[in-house]
């Protein structure tokens, strides 16, 4: 197994390099002049030239590329044109929000997805099976931002049950501790005996979680079902039955453990995808995460910000995929004990 880990890690370097390269060219080749964007319409030629040389834009492309790689590897992603803050700081401020949402959505999708998938597999071709699978098919056929809007229309505007956006009721002022509002809410509950923070954080999480989690839910349910069906056909399930093990145990202990192996990989991948797809959902829910920040940066033509944000998320994505692969090799005894 060690060989496997080392091999995977070795692949990481060229992959990350490839990602950096792609993002670099994205900005380098994009139309428009960053200097002009930064200085505005009224800047004269001299000022533009000076800024360009400051930004290194007058250097040959290959040199810019080298400089860029150097900077990235040192952890310097530059400054946002709009806020003049260090991009790494902007990102780290917003990261917990994005992760909190992605995590709850993944959890929601996984638990519900596995439950539904197992139920569908056990009662194959029953109404449970058909309705779950049809629902799943519909789930992967809709645009996530549309679903978000519809949910808001029904639950926020129509029924007034849940808030339209944001992470917390604006009138509840508090100093974030971990910046994970659910956790902070619990801490505040202990400290001040008030559950308001926690409840508000929870309420604000519900709609975004459901919106973001629906597509992964559908995918996980389908994967669980097909994996389970495959496993239930296997000889070792027959062996367990032939030994007299009660059906319930056969399904939930013997079959499920095997069926979940590919599902766990899918869950990991979905988590990575959720992080990267946050752009669409966070915007609608005014969720102050990295996605929303990138969205606004695109609109404001804040190139370094967009570049930095995309690079950051891509790195995360690549890392998560690596972790998923490694995790799989650990939990599957056939690979672990090669």
């Amino acid at each position: 197994m060690l060989k496997f880990i080392l091999k995977r890690l070795a692949l990481l370097i060229p992959t990350l390099l490839g990602v950096i390269t792609l993002v670099f060219f994205m900005i380098a080749l994009a139309p428009g002049d960053p200097a002009r964007v930064m200085l505005g319409e009224r800047a004269n030629a001299e000022q533009l030239a000076q800024l360009r040389s400051e930004l290194g834009l007058d250097q040959p492309l290959s040199k810019q590329y080298m400089l860029y790689i150097g900077r990235v590897l040192r952890g310097d992603l530059g400054k946002s044109i709009v806020t003049q803050q260090k991009i790494t700081k902007e990102l780290s401020d917003r990261l917990p929000a994005t992760i909190e949402l992605a995590l709850t959505a993944t959890l929601f999708a996984s638990i519900l997805g596995i439950v539904l998938g197992v139920a569908a597999a056990r009662k194959r071709n029953s109404w449970v099976d058909y309705s779950t699978m049809t629902g799943a098919l519909v789930g992967v056929s809709m645009p996530v931002f549309w679903l978000a809007l519809v949910l808001i229309m029904i639950f926020s505007v129509g029924l007034d049950l849940l808030p339209t956006g944001g992470r917390m009721n604006v009138r509840l002022y508090f100093r974030p501790i971990t910046n994970f509002y659910l956790i902070d809410g619990i801490i505040m509950w202990f400290r001040e005996g008030k559950s308001d923070y926690f409840v508000s954080a929870l309420k604000h999480l519900i709609l975004p979680t459901v919106a973001l989690g629906t597509i992964p839910l559908a995918i996980i349910a389908r994967t669980t079902r097909s994996s389970m069906l495959e496993v239930l056909k296997q000889d070792y399930v027959k062996t367990a039955r032939a030994a007299g093990v009660p059906e319930r145990k056969v399904v939930f202990r013997y079959a499920l453990r095997n069926a979940l192996l590919p599902v766990i990989t899918v869950i990991g991948i979905q988590f990575g995808l959720l992080l990267s797809g946050a752009i669409l959902t966070e915007t609608i829910f005014a969720w102050p995460g990295i996605g929303k920040w990138i969205y606004h940066s695109i609109g404001a033509r804040d190139f370094p910000a967009v570049q930095g944000g995309i690079l950051f998320i891509s790195f995360f994505f690549v890392t998560i995929n690596l972790v998923v692969d490694l995790l799989y090799s650990v939990i599957n005894p056939r690979i672990r004990l090669k």
């Binding site: 990602v19 809709m142 549309w146 990267s276």
Partner: protein, 299 residues
Amino acid sequence: MSDNMTKEIIEEEITPPAEPGFWKESWYQLTRNRAAMAGLIIISVFTLMAIFAPLAAPEDPLEQTIPARLTAPFTDGYILGTDDLGRDLLSRIIYGGRISLIIGVVSVSISLALGGVLGLVAGYFGGWVDRVIMRVIDIMLAFPYILLTIVIVAILGPSLMNAMVAIGISQMPRYARVLRASVMGEREQDYVLAERSLGTNNFELMFHTILPNALAPTMVQATLGVGEAILSSAGLSFLGLGAQPPTPEWGLMIASSKQFITSAWWVVTLPGIAILLAVLGFNLLGDGLRDILDPRLRD
């Protein structure tokens, strides 16, 4: 000539798998799969709508009638109501169908062409060619799909055409992989070896002999890919990176009506339902195709 005779005899004895029987049998099985047929029907409806858009749509999708803005459905003769610029929603949705179909077909064609060639070359030659190509594919796949499309559109400039190109390029790796696996399977078959022994050159072998037989698995990916392209395009439009106003692209229609969710639910909801149905159709068909082409057919 003895060469031709040999060729005829060999071709008679060793028939390639894509005989007429294969397609007939597949069609027969397809019709028996209810979900796939449902998908096919939906797609046909949309296709007809797209082709006959000028006849089907009651109004010009771009014509603004400001006094009639935000009319509710079933009022004043507007079956699906109007948007915030007084444009008939039904007409816009119908024309939007045309655009979505074009998006799907163009994107998938690009992906298939690019990915197909790469996969074909990689699968056929193997060795270091294969390794290099696959490494590039892996790097592309390491990038989150949505971000990749955004990056490409950012480079090319926001427009519907560029969005299609971006989607096409981003989807390419999957076709490359599928085709490569398929080609590797076909490469060792008798009919290929027979052709090779007659001295057919590599290029012909790849494109004339192997490719037609290796394409079957890509059909599934292509069908599903159309649905994905429609969704991706909607997402890009939403971010302002795809279709530009006043194009009646479904995603753009939703995006520009965000602020009206309280006042005019139909402007937001209805285009989304159109997307839902269209993509559902392709997903149903794609799933059905996958079931049929999967050799491990279950009873």
